[in-house]
Amino acid sequence: MYKLYLKIASRYLFKNKLYSFINIFGLTVGIASFILIMLYVNHEHSYDKFEGSDRVYRVYMDYLEGGKYVPGDANAYILSGPALQEQFPEIEEFARLRRLGEVVLLHDDGIFDHNTASLADPTYFDVFDRSLEKGDIANALSEPYSIVLSTALSKKIFGDADPLGKTLKIAGSGDLLFTVTGTMDNKGYNTHLKNDFLVSFKTFYTWERFKQDWDYTWNQNAYFTYIKVDKNADIAQLGQKIMDYVPEGLKNERHHIEPIEDIHLNSNKPYEAETNGNGNNVRFLAIIAFITLLLCWMNYMNLSSSKSLERAKEVGIRKVVGAKKPQLALQFLLESALLNFVAIILAMLSVYILLPSFNDLVEQDLGLDKAQLMSLLPYLAIMLVGASLAAFYPAFVLTRFNPTKALKGKAQTSSGGAFFIKSLVVCQFVATIALLIGTFVANKQIHFLKNRPIGANLEPVIALKGQVLNKTSDSLFNMSFDAFEDELRKIPYIAEVTGAGTYPGDSFDNLNSNMGITFPNGKTDEKHIWYNYSVGAEYFDVMGMEFVAGGPFIQTSQKSSNNVVINEKMVHFMEVTDVESIVGKTINYWGADWTVAGVIKDYNHSGMKSPVVPMVIRHTRNSQNVLVKLDRKAMTMGNTEKALDDMNRIWHQIFPVSTYNYTFLDQKYEALFKDEQKFAKAFQLFTVLAILIASLGLFGLTSYTCLQRTKEIGIRKVNGATITQILSLLNKDFVKWVGLAFVIAVPVAWYAMDKWLSVFAYKTPLSWWVFALAGILALMIALLTVSWQSLKAAMTNPVESLRSE
């Protein structure tokens, strides 16, 4: 019997090609979008989820600012871990990781750069539930100068040879030898704290690199600290106790803990290990995924209920020959199951085909491996439940037809059914309009951020960075470095060159955060955080930063002086109104006096998500980065390549044994809101798809209403109605529904987008025209979709529609 039903079902779908196509297409688009978005969302949620991760917390610092504690930075003190463990028995273990910055490894003649690495306590493996591919996990990090490589890095350095027991050098650390004690496989390991290799924490005590931290006090706060707590610990209570606990030697700060699972999506503190994801965006995308799925099912219900009217006669005949309600329902359910099944298969195929392009769009490497597919199983279950629910309604409508009336081929108008379909369409339009508003706002915000003046000219500036691997003495190195800068200055298309410790858009790690400063008026501030970094005298020229008072450091023969330049925010902070009065005055911090040479206009150092911070810029010889400002006018078209070649050549002439790379400042700065851009792109794509689906639904509904009103249209035409009048009669309702949907969608979208914008320090206004535009666009889409069919109905010769007597 099922076989027969299935045969009838497939025959029916084949016969009604347009209907089947629209239906399957809508479902496929909806389900494929859903799977794609959820793959992304799942990926973002998979960070730092491991066996026992719910018991692991990161310790970070709150600063006391203006009498209140504010989240400070992601690092804790070197002493935090040990002190907390001693104080609180609930803490089973702690693991500290100290970032090493970008590290260059040397092996024989090989140079391996661009490595992210950390010093790590031996407890790391246990706290993070890691395993080693090779090596003894119990001892891998217990001895000084032990190093654990990622499998990928090990392969790069040693090829297929066994790395265990082999030795490596770290550039800048002379002839110190590090012994490989293990390898770990990072493939598929999603964490906010990525490491290409780990060095045993014990190395810290003798490694010259950490000399300045050897006093081991409450002064060194560059240590990521993770604690693993007891299964039965009361976390809220422990968190409070940790906040209340003030170790001796710590002032104006307190410890705070956060679940490691939340870090990737919800933490955006200074000195994060990497720019984390944006939980808001991920939540938005998940909502969009469900909306898309819902839309396509509403659509399906819509289309099949409309279509069911045409099948009244079939139902009538079946009923007259004895079909019972359940049998009829089964038939329609099977039909619908077949349709949904085809759609799900097609959706899977589309996902498989589209995944690479989608990966490009969201700049991810999402895979459809077994684990991912397994994680999609619950959603597939939702889909099947949804599909059968979607199938139920039309089956219900169809089986309710009265056979004698149905036999006359008369479409039965049940006002309940019409209301149901109308509500679906209004819902679809609420979603469409809300998504449109969301897309507009997201794009508007990104446009706003991109075009908001940073307060510095990043476009013609390139940052060169390299590490000299055969450094003998500092003075010799400095001479060579000066020579490099001078060589660059000789090139006609290079306008200016400067050394700089960091620059706008660069990682937070290269910025010092401080508390405690004495102002020219003798007042001392101990409560506020301010930042500083060091640059060469030409920095302000290179960056195009504007002075509101004074000027760049007074050039002396030396490359360093006690001159500083501060920003307006810092002046504001000093509670001084006359900016000029600061120039030439002395401020005091780090136990030394500094002369304020000038005050620059505020600029955004760390992107537009964060507000301007008080800043002190010191005059110091600097070889961390060389910033090169190109003179675009002196360059022939497209000569940036040549400039890069020239600079590379000169660098290697002067430093034959070195690493070297370059960065375009504007690109790096823009990458700070990469996540938002990805989000906007994804948002846009899925909005278009959602609109497509909604239009299909409307298309179905129009054919339904037009069919229902054929007779009415005919009568009106015979009585003198023109095509335009009929069109407006048919379209009026749709305009009303879009209007209703608009009224519902606006507050929802306003609330949601206001929330989305709240994480930005600078927000584009939620202008009225964004809402109006979305409404008008939705209306236009609706009218276009509807008119295609209603025009056809309006143009039909009334003789045709009135004949059937």
Binding site: K711, E712, G714, I715, R716, V718, N719, G720, A721, T722, Q725, N797, P798, V799, L802, R803, E805
Partner: protein, 220 residues
């Protein structure tokens, strides 16, 4: 003369074959005539009526209506012509179910761009004339077939057409109701309205001044 059909042919192509629906129709109708069209089912009566009513086109021949050459007119022009001069009455009344009697009567006036106050007056006049004032707020489903057809005729008459085209107006009515409708037609005709009706009943046909017989699309 009200209208004149000269050598009208209408056909449809089906399976490469030309099927004639109307063959060489020649007909002159003077103002004030009352014509009955008769013929077996499928002989083309409705088709002819629709052609006269300009709801349908024809393929060959000439059609003049009040000095206008219908065969040369654009569709919009034709629509304006029938809107102004012709009223239609149908076998199944074709009232709009969701409108009241009063609103059904008003509907054509809206499309003919009468002002609100004029419409009110004309509808009231018509309700009076057909003695259905008491039913003005009822919906078609609440009326008997005869009453519904009465409304249908009232609607056809409301903007003072010169010509009433009625396709089996009594087909769905019992004989008594049918008789009443025919009496009404007679009365209207006496008042000067030209009427062309399709009917199967010899008796009803007798109300007319002239009978046209159709067979397979041809006048006999």
């Amino acid at each position: 003369m009200l209208l004149q059909l000269n050598n009208i042919f209408k056909w449809v192509n089906s399976g490469g074959q030309r099927i004639f629906l109307l063959k060489d129709i020649n007909l002159e109708v003077e103002e004030g005539e009352f014509i009955s069209i008769m013929g077996p089912s499928g002989s083309g009566k409705s088709t002819l009526l629709n052609v006269i009513g300009m709801l349908d086109t024809f393929d060959e021949g000439e059609y003049n209506f009040l000095e206008e050459s219908v065969h040369d007119l654009k569709e919009k022009h034709r629509a304006n012509l029938y809107k102004e001069y012709i009223g239609f009455v149908f076998q199944s009344y074709h009232l709009l179910d969701e409108l009241t009697v009063q609103e059904n009567l008003e509907m054509p006036l809206i499309y003919k761009k009468f002002k609100g106050s004029e419409r009110k007056a004309m509808v009231a006049d018509m309700l009076d004339r057909f003695s259905i004032v008491g039913k003005k707020d009822l919906f078609p489903a609440q009326l008997s077939g005869g009453q519904q057809q009465l409304v249908g005729i009232a609607r056809a008459l409301i903007s003072n057409p010169k010509l009433i085209l009625a396709d089996e107006p009594t087909g769905n009515l019992n004989s008594k109701q049918g008789e009443e409708i025919m009496e009404l037609f007679k009365q209207l005709n006496d008042e000067g309205v030209t009427i062309i009706q399709v009917t199967h009943s010899e008796k009803n046909a007798e109300y007319g001044s002239r009978i046209i017989n159709l067979l397979d699309g041809r006048m006999i």
